[in-house]
């Protein structure tokens, strides 16, 4: 029997390791899917089918020289990538990814597959995401380069505009589940209607799910909303002046943020670890399947859709997405009051 705190420590290490691994897998699958869509081979030299390519990239980046522009703000320039990576890892801490388990009888009391069970978990994810924008904004400003500054200005205004719709689509789910805890929200989606339709919130909240996904793409700075880096216009946007390990940290943060956004979407709308066929203690397999599907969708979208124009982004965010999200919230709240759950 392993004491509880060792098991919890194990979960923390496992989550940290899995996030690093997930970032590597994401880089590889992004390049492979991109190649598939563009009828190329993609990476195929390092390891079997090029699977070790991300590791080769990491080694290369670590051994590069770390440059800093003379006119850069020294403290903030160093701080920005650290802030980005820390926030990315921290956000996953409150995301549950499986039902309570005894880890195959290794421990006496069942523990939750989650680093920290906070009763305002949804808001914590939201708060940490809103802090992560500082990494990008400060990187762009401290570099003292016009391309970086433009990237970070765009990032700031984009975050402000889409965070509102993001929060409102999320609030509709909170109203439905009647709780701010992600574990409670997942458990509220247990079971099925008519025996075969799973009680996932995506079926009650199709509009909310759509808004959440669109705003989520904007929040993670992915194409077609990748304005902060927009390589055709801004060289590389906020991380133009970064090289070596600091650059790698931005890259890592971007991919981990995607994984977190997908995990939160799976928890909020797709029933988390609940699914047919598998026993409860293997629910995390369902969770992985759902996350992978969402992440594949992200990649697919990046290589299919062109980037919007900047004014279109703002118009869409304020004049379409926000009113729709508000309407969705009001209708949901009215539905909960007048029809019960």
């Amino acid at each position: 029997m392993i004491p509880l705190y060792i098991a919890q420590f194990g979960i923390i290490l496992a989550v940290f390791g899995m996030l690093l691994l997930a970032a590597a897998v994401m880089v590889y699958s992004e390049r492979k899917v991109a190649a598939l869509i563009q009828q190329r081979y993609g990476p195929y030299l390092v390891g079997p089918k090029g699977m070790l390519q991300p590791i080769a990239d990491v080694v290369k980046l670590i051994f590069k020289e770390s440059l800093r522009p003379v006119a850069a703000d020294r403290v903030i320039f160093v701080l920005a990538p650290i802030l980005s990576a820390t926030a990315a890892f921290a956000a996953f801490a409150v995301v549950p990814f499986g039902a309570e388990t005894t880890l195959f009888g290794l421990i006496e009391e069942p523990i939750r597959l989650q680093v920290a069970d906070v009763n305002v978990a949804v808001l914590v994810v939201f708060a940490i995401t809103s802090i992560s924008v500082y990494g990008i904004v400060l990187a762009g400003w401290s570099s003292n380069s016009k391309y970086s500054l433009l990237g970070s200005l765009r990032s700031a205004s984009q975050m402000i505009s889409y965070e509102l719709s993001y929060g409102m689509s999320l609030a509709a789910v909170l109203v439905l589940a009647g709780s701010l805890s992600l574990t409670d929200i997942v458990n509220a989606q247990q079971g099925a209607w008519l025996g075969f339709i799973p009680r996932w919130f995506v079926f009650v909240q199709p509009l909310g799910f759509l808004i959440f996904m669109i705003a989520g793409v904007a929040e993670t700075n992915r194409a077609p909303f990748d304005f902060p880096e927009a390589e055709q216009e801004l060289v590389a946007g906020y991380h133009t002046e970064y090289s070596s390990t600091p650059f790698m940290m931005f890259f890592l943060a971007e991919y981990i943020n995607m994984v977190t956004a997908a995990a939160v979407a799976a928890d909020l709308f797709l029933g988390g670890w609940h699914g047919p066929f598998l026993p409860e203690y293997l629910g995390w397999i369902w969770f992985l399947v759902k996350i992978s599907a969402i992440l594949f969708f992200y990649i697919w979208m990046r290589w299919t859709l062109p980037r919007l124009r900047y004014d279109q982004l703002m118009q869409f965010g304020w004049k379409v997405l926000l009113p729709l999200a508000a309407l969705n919230l009001i209708v949901t709240a009215a539905g909960v009051i007048y029809c019960g759950n």
Binding site: V120, F126, A127, G167
Partner: protein, 176 residues
């Protein structure tokens, strides 16, 4: 209790130090960042008071929204260090006096409030000035109180914000 008190002093010290540095150092960008640090330390204090909802909302609203706008403005204006701008220029007298008067009034108010609360006493940390800890944690209770007992203040605040927004739009339109 020991750790709680330690965390209180830690977050308190961070908040005070960061707030002081906001006004004492001269780079506007660093001031904005230090203000963010101060807000985050306040959020830590709220968690110590067993009000996680208030703490998270503090971070979302102040750090996540308001300070991003501050940062945006500082970056757009490309504000320079204060000492680079006014070389040898004396600060204007009027605002300085008004500020001094306001500071004295604020100080008096704080002293009065602290004396009235009876100063620091045992158990004041965990009990949070008579508030029910369980009720504070519940978002439902908070919502109920906000939309019944304090609905007037709530609506007044929203009108205030709308007025500010309309004013900003009018000013922006007139310039172009």
């Amino acid at each position: 209790m020991g750790t709680e008190l330690l965390l209180f002093y830690l977050f308190g010290a961070i908040a005070v130090a960061a707030s002081l540095l906001v006004v004492l150092q001269r780079n506007p960008m660093h001031s904005v960042l230090l203000l963010i640090v101060s807000f985050c330390a306040l959020a830590g204090l709220y968690i110590g008071l067993e009000a996680p909802f208030a703490a998270v909302v503090q971070i979302i609203i102040y750090t996540g929204a308001i300070m991003v706008l501050f940062l945006f403005v500082v970056m757009l204006l490309n504000a320079h260090r204060e000492d680079e701008v006014d070389v040898g220029a004396r600060p204007v007298r009027g605002p300085l006096r008004a500020g001094a008067v306001l500071a004295v009034v604020l100080m008096a108010e704080l002293v009065w409030a602290l004396v009235r609360a009876g100063g620091p006493r045992d158990g004041a940390l965990s009990e949070g000035a008579g508030a029910d800890a369980a009720a504070l944690q519940s978002v439902r209770t908070l919502g109920n109180v906000l939309f019944t007992d304090y609905s007037l203040a709530f609506e007044a605040t929203s009108i205030l914000i709308i007025v500010a927004m309309v004013g900003a739009v009018v000013l922006a339109k007139r310039e172009s």
